[in-house]
């Protein structure tokens, strides 16, 4: 809580080195590997942003696609009028505002309602955008033409991932992060020590949503033609949840462990069996919930704890193999 521990210092150095190495990718390759790299960092950013909120609160959000789409549309609507940096800020603010609304409406309810609400809301926004486009603009989509290369987008997404990590790390060290750990442990105690639990959750959901919105804004130039069906694609929400759960949400870097293998698998599936990708997503979801409920990192920590205990020095590992999601 005070000062920087040695582990954290080590993590910082490793993270810095990894970031430096990864940022070299656009200089080394173009085409397939770079485009794969963009997907990878995109989902790294989205999953990490998702688990900022869903990790400690255990509320499963399916609103990633809503934030992503709002970010994409922020760019598509005003690209000709405003500089890109301003558009990114608009994307962040609009997504945070949406998160605040969702939070105020649902976070007092139990987790199941929250899941359904976020899924339904994303669909609703998509329908509203489709309707208003055909009603008022008389067209299906919007063109986004910029001078950004694939490499530029990759760098921006990489920077976004790094920013998400840094903010997550700062939150963990802050009063807000501490409040969320207390809420995760015992919400009754949290309220009795003076934590406005609903507000804490909403603030965190806004931060998480803002990052997903920025990811959408950065991706807009890549699509070139923005349609509601692509921008608010619910597949984005599902992929984010599956990757984060596969990696595990107890540690900040947990989702990354899920993002890398899953992106590779999805890329292979999309290339060989393009029509079966939904089936794979479904099976993967079931497998994760049943076999690895606390994710790869959770499993590793659990085994390590069990090993230490069998050596007679450890302590009880709470929730070995416990279902993480409250929903």
């Amino acid at each position: 809580m005070t000062g920087i521990h040695r582990d954290e210092m080590l993590g910082l150095i490793c993270g810095g080195v990894a970031l430096a190495l990864l940022s070299l990718l656009p200089l080394l390759t173009e085409g397939f590997y770079l485009s794969f790299g963009v997907n990878l960092v995109l989902y790294a950013a989205l999953s990490t942003a998702w688990s900022l909120f869903s990790g400690p609160t255990r509320f499963v959000s399916l609103a990633s696609a809503a934030f992503f789409g709002i970010g994409t549309y922020s760019v598509a609507l005003w690209l000709d009028a405003l500089p890109f940096v301003v558009l990114i800020a608009i994307a962040a603010l609009a997504s945070a505002a949406l998160a605040a609304l969702i939070g105020a409406a649902t976070l007092r309810l139990s987790g199941v309602y929250f899941v359904i609400f976020t899924l339904g809301l994303t669909e609703l926004i998509r329908q509203i955008v489709s309707w208003s486009q055909s009603r008022f603009a008389h067209k299906m989509g919007l063109y986004v033409f910029t001078d950004f290369t694939e490499g530029d987008l990759y760098w921006m997404l990489l920077a976004l991932t790094a920013a998400t990590f840094s903010v997550g790390w700062l939150i963990n060290r802050s009063r807000l992060g501490f409040a969320l750990r207390i809420i995760g442990d015992d919400e009754t105690v949290a309220r009795h020590v003076g934590i406005a639990t609903a507000r804490a959750k909403i603030v965190l959901f806004m931060i998480s949503g803002a990052f997903a919105g920025i990811a959408g804004a950065i991706m807009a130039p890549r699509y070139a033609y923005i349609e509601p069906q692509a921008a608010f694609n619910p597949m984005i929400s599902f992929m984010v949840v599956i990757m984060a759960l596969l990696g595990g949400t107890r540690r900040l870097w947990g989702p990354l462990v899920g993002v890398v293998p899953f992106t590779v698998v999805m890329e292979l599936i999309a290339a060989r069996f393009p029509n079966e990708s939904l089936i794979v997503v479904g099976i993967a979801f079931l497998a994760i919930v049943y076999v690895l409920p606390s994710g790869v990192t959770g499993r590793i920590e659990c085994l390590r704890e069990r090993l230490r205990r069998s050596l007679g020095t450890g302590v009880d590992a709470p929730g070995c193999g416990k279902i993480e999601g409250r929903a």
Binding site: T2, R181, T197
Partner: protein, 243 residues
């Protein structure tokens, strides 16, 4: 007589048809240690939950100093200066002892945080007899030690009013003596305390005043010795034959 710190006025809590607390009124003065006693199911813990905000009253009013606190959310009441322990000990299981205590101070009052919170929490753990156990995970601690952590967490808020819900329950005889001493010390420092308790030795030793409840109604209010000799109180505890 000192001015009342806490005023409970015709407080009522009904769960459907069951009236758990039935128009109960009492005052607590600054610095007082009062015992809230009564047989099982008489509404003591419900009363405490109404004061701390865990439950919303059906009717009636509670004031802390000049501020009305009844109907406020528990986090607001905590900020007004009321801290509590729970009947079934509630520590934060994933955290260490010192983190549990810091939780008590980080969100109320001047929101002590960082190095100062560490120092404060360390001193409080020493205070409740857990010197050197700062970094022990609470999940590995014994029941009494968890109760100590919970007490330290409540004290960390530096509350104007401390609510202890059967804090002495479940302790063995030697632990009980230590516990009674500890509460006595805290009270002598001038802290205002309401304790719900079944351990009569503790009531006699510690409480200057007792409020007795039975079936949701206040049946006696006075010094511990007077109240415990009251025929109504004896009847409530032991039945008609012994009154």
């Amino acid at each position: 007589m000192k001015p009342a710190l806490l005023s409970v006025v015709r407080m009522r809590k009904a769960f459907g048809g069951l009236v758990a607390v039935n128009d109960v009124s009492f005052d607590v003065s600054e610095g007082e240690l009062i015992g809230l006693i009564g047989p099982n199911g008489s509404g003591k813990t419900t009363m405490l939950n109404l004061i701390s905000g865990a439950l919303r009253p059906t009717s009636g009013e509670i004031r802390l100093g000049r501020n009305q606190i009844s109907g406020l959310a528990p986090e607001r009441i905590a900020k007004e200066g009321i801290a509590r322990t729970f009947q079934l000990v509630r520590v934060l299981p994933s955290m260490t002892a010192i983190e549990n205590v810091i939780a008590g101070t980080a969100f109320v009052g001047d929101r002590t945080w960082g190095a100062r919170a560490h120092t404060l929490a360390g001193a409080l753990l020493e205070r409740v007899g857990l010197t050197g156990r700062e970094n022990a995970p609470v999940s590995t601690m014994t029941y009494i030690d968890q109760k100590r952590v919970e007490l330290a967490r409540a004290l960390a808020a530096d509350p104007r009013l401390l609510l202890l819900d059967e804090w002495l329950a479940g302790l063995n005889p030697s632990e009980l003596l230590i516990g009674i001493d500890l509460i006595g010390e805290i009270s002598r420092e001038g802290r205002t305390i309401i304790m719900v308790e079944h351990v009569m030795d503790a009531i006699r030793t510690l409480c200057s005043r007792c409020v007795v409840m039975s079936s949701g109604v206040k049946i006696a209010d006075g010094t511990a010795s007077n109240v415990l000799a009251d025929p109504d109180v004896i009847r409530a505890y032991l039945g008609d034959d012994d009154a």
